[in-house]
């Protein structure tokens, strides 16, 4: 029986997408993240940039790509706020790296698993955000557990809609 190495297995399961998808999906996520709260009376119960980060990190099964994607999405998200630039960047960098690392070991075609990974990484991202603000920067930032939980649930539910749509755009051999 032929035994495949880890890197070979990763290459076999690695998905690829058109270049346009790599450009448009993050941009759409950033724009919707900034625009949709206006229609929802200011409530932000989802994190679409994190969703995109996790999706591509899982699909590509590459921690470096997940790291880069998370860093760029987080930095852009920070730039739209009036807070320090890099807090979201670090949180999503870690999330992207972990998603890319986990993607090697799990079945990325399973929706339930991907939703659970998204849920956990959303919570982790919220924790990292507050820890950086309070510990690293020494600034006032209140931890709001319920809101973070709601955001993680909302992001997971949004993943149910967006992941199948993005799956359709992948290039099949």
């Amino acid at each position: 029986m032929r035994v495949l190495g880890a890197s070979h297995r990763r290459e076999l399961g690695m998905r690829s997408y058109p270049l346009l998808v790599y450009a448009l999906a993050p941009l759409t996520a950033l724009v919707l993240q900034a625009w949709l709260p206006r229609l929802m009376r200011g409530y932000v119960w989802f994190d679409l940039p994190l969703l995109i980060t996790v999706y591509f990190a899982l699909a590509r099964r590459d921690p470096i790509q997940g790291t880069m994607m998370g860093a760029s999405m987080g930095l852009f998200q920070d730039a739209l706020t009036h807070h320090a630039i890099g807090v979201n960047g670090i949180a999503k960098t870690v999330a992207g790296f972990l998603a890319g690392s986990v993607g090697v070991r799990i079945d990325v075609d399973n929706y339930i698993i991907r939703m659970m990974v998204t849920f956990l990484l959303s919570l982790l991202s919220g924790v990292i955000y507050v820890v950086i603000y309070r510990v690293l920067l020494g600034l006032d930032q209140e931890w709001r557990g319920l809101e973070e939980l709601m955001k993680a649930v909302g992001t997971s539910l949004a993943a149910m809609v967006f992941y199948p749509l993005l799956d359709r755009t992948q290039i099949k051999d």
Partner: protein
């Protein structure tokens, strides 16, 4: 060594990216002299390049989304309107006949409304210069209560301009981009607006809490503050003009950090979570038309003779007061008659410029004089009889 980098390539990339961002954070956050970390830039006039890039990337699609949403809503409404247009046409014809009769009576009301509208327009033009703008996006996170406007530097916006609605204040412009602007809402924890309670006249600073609820902080406990009291801008923060509505007091609760201080929760007058159109106060200087400026100049010119007339009147009053008779002090030493020349000539050593003393008024003698009567001798008493007066020189002379 090569195998180390190959083996831990992922981890090294992660660490490098994290390190770069941490260094970036360290550059942004500064520590003040009081040991408190802050994000305030040293140069408040500049905009960070990354914010400019993010705005340039996100704002145009947001504007397209906003325009598309308005177009879709308009299209849908038009479709719904067209569905029953025939039935409505017949009904409308009947309505038109009825409305023609009402038109005559409404015409007078319309004229009155036009006059009131003109008055209102004048008032609005007179007080402040404002610019209407539309809210097109948010920060995307609930920890940063900022939103974006579709007007920017090209339209005349600048930092620290007040953003209001007809209902009340909304926030202030924080960053200005070429064709958009970032507004910090009053319910953000980092915002601050000087406010005053309408009836109790207690001043405080309005800012948001972590959940985005505005509250007035830094107020000493006062029993007079009750829910329902109106909150207005105090005008001391150099952003919001004085007297604009802010909201009303909802709840008063003790400050958890400081004894004898309270936090006053405020319900904002403006709908901060449903902002569409806002007004940006671009100038707090009263604007005057050319005719008004001419009137003001003429008024200033008229003030000169008026002031001179008032001074002349005051001088005449002073002269009259000097010459009018008044009560003289009976205890004062009487002037020596010999030293007062009847001819008005001054004695040697006396200032020639000193005007002569006015003649003392003649006092009528009371029917029953008592000890308080000017010029009357004090009533003798036992103690006074036994002891000589302490100040004989101050006794009134007969």
């Amino acid at each position: 060594m090569e195998s180390f980098f190959t083996r831990y390539r992922n981890l090294l990339v992660l660490l490098a990216v994290l390190l770069a961002q941490i260094i970036g954070l360290a550059v942004q956050v500064r520590r003040t002299d009081s040991g408190r970390n802050t994000l305030d830039p040293l140069d408040p006039t500049g905009v960070r390049l990354i914010r400019l890039w993010a705005d340039a990337v996100v704002t145009p699609p947001e504007q397209i989304f906003h325009a598309a949403k308005l177009g879709a809503v308009s299209l849908w409404k038009n479709y719904l309107d067209l569905r029953s247009v025939r039935e409505q046409n017949q009904d409308l014809q009947k309505t038109i006949d009825r409305l023609r009769l009402e038109q005559a009576s409404l015409l007078e009301d319309a004229r009155q409304g036009e006059r009131l509208q003109a008055l209102l327009d004048f008032q609005q033009r007179y007080i402040y210069k404002t610019l209407a703008a539309q809210a097109i996006g948010t920060s995307g996170t609930d920890s940063s209560r900022v939103f974006y406007l579709d007007k920017g530097k090209a339209e005349g916006l600048d930092r620290d301009m007040a953003v209001i609605t007809p209902d009340g204040i909304v926030g202030k412009v924080r960053e200005v981009f070429p064709h958009s602007a970032q507004v910090l809402a009053i319910n953000d924890p980092t915002s601050g607006a000087g406010v005053i309670l309408e009836t109790t006249r207690i001043r405080g600073i309005l800012r948001g809490d972590a959940a985005g609820r505005p509250q007035i902080v830094g107020i000493l406990a006062d029993q007079r503050i009750q829910p329902g009291e109106k909150v207005l801008t105090a005008g001391g923060d150099l952003v919001f003009p004085r007297g604009l509505p802010v909201g009303e007091v909802v709840r008063v609760m003790p400050d958890p950090d400081r004894d004898s201080f309270i936090d006053v929760m405020v319900k904002p007058a403006a709908h901060l979570d449903r902002l569409d159109e806002v007004l940006v106060i671009t100038s707090t200087e009263p604007r005057f038309s050319a005719e008004q400026q001419q009137d003001m100049a003429a008024s200033e010119a008229l003030k000169g003779p008026e002031v001179a007339a008032i001074k002349e009147q005051q001088k005449a009053s002073q002269i009259m007061a000097e010459h009018l008779p008044g009560l003289s002090d009976p205890n004062a030493p009487a002037p020596a008659p010999a030293s007062t020349p009847a001819s008005g000539k001054a004695l040697p050593g006396q200032d020639k410029a000193t005007p002569p003393e006015p003649p003392a008024p003649k006092l009528l003698h009371p029917l029953r004089p008592d000890r308080f009567t000017p010029g009357a001798k004090p009533q003798p008493s036992q103690s006074e009889e036994s002891s000589p007066p302490a100040h004989p020189g101050r006794n009134p002379k007969p």
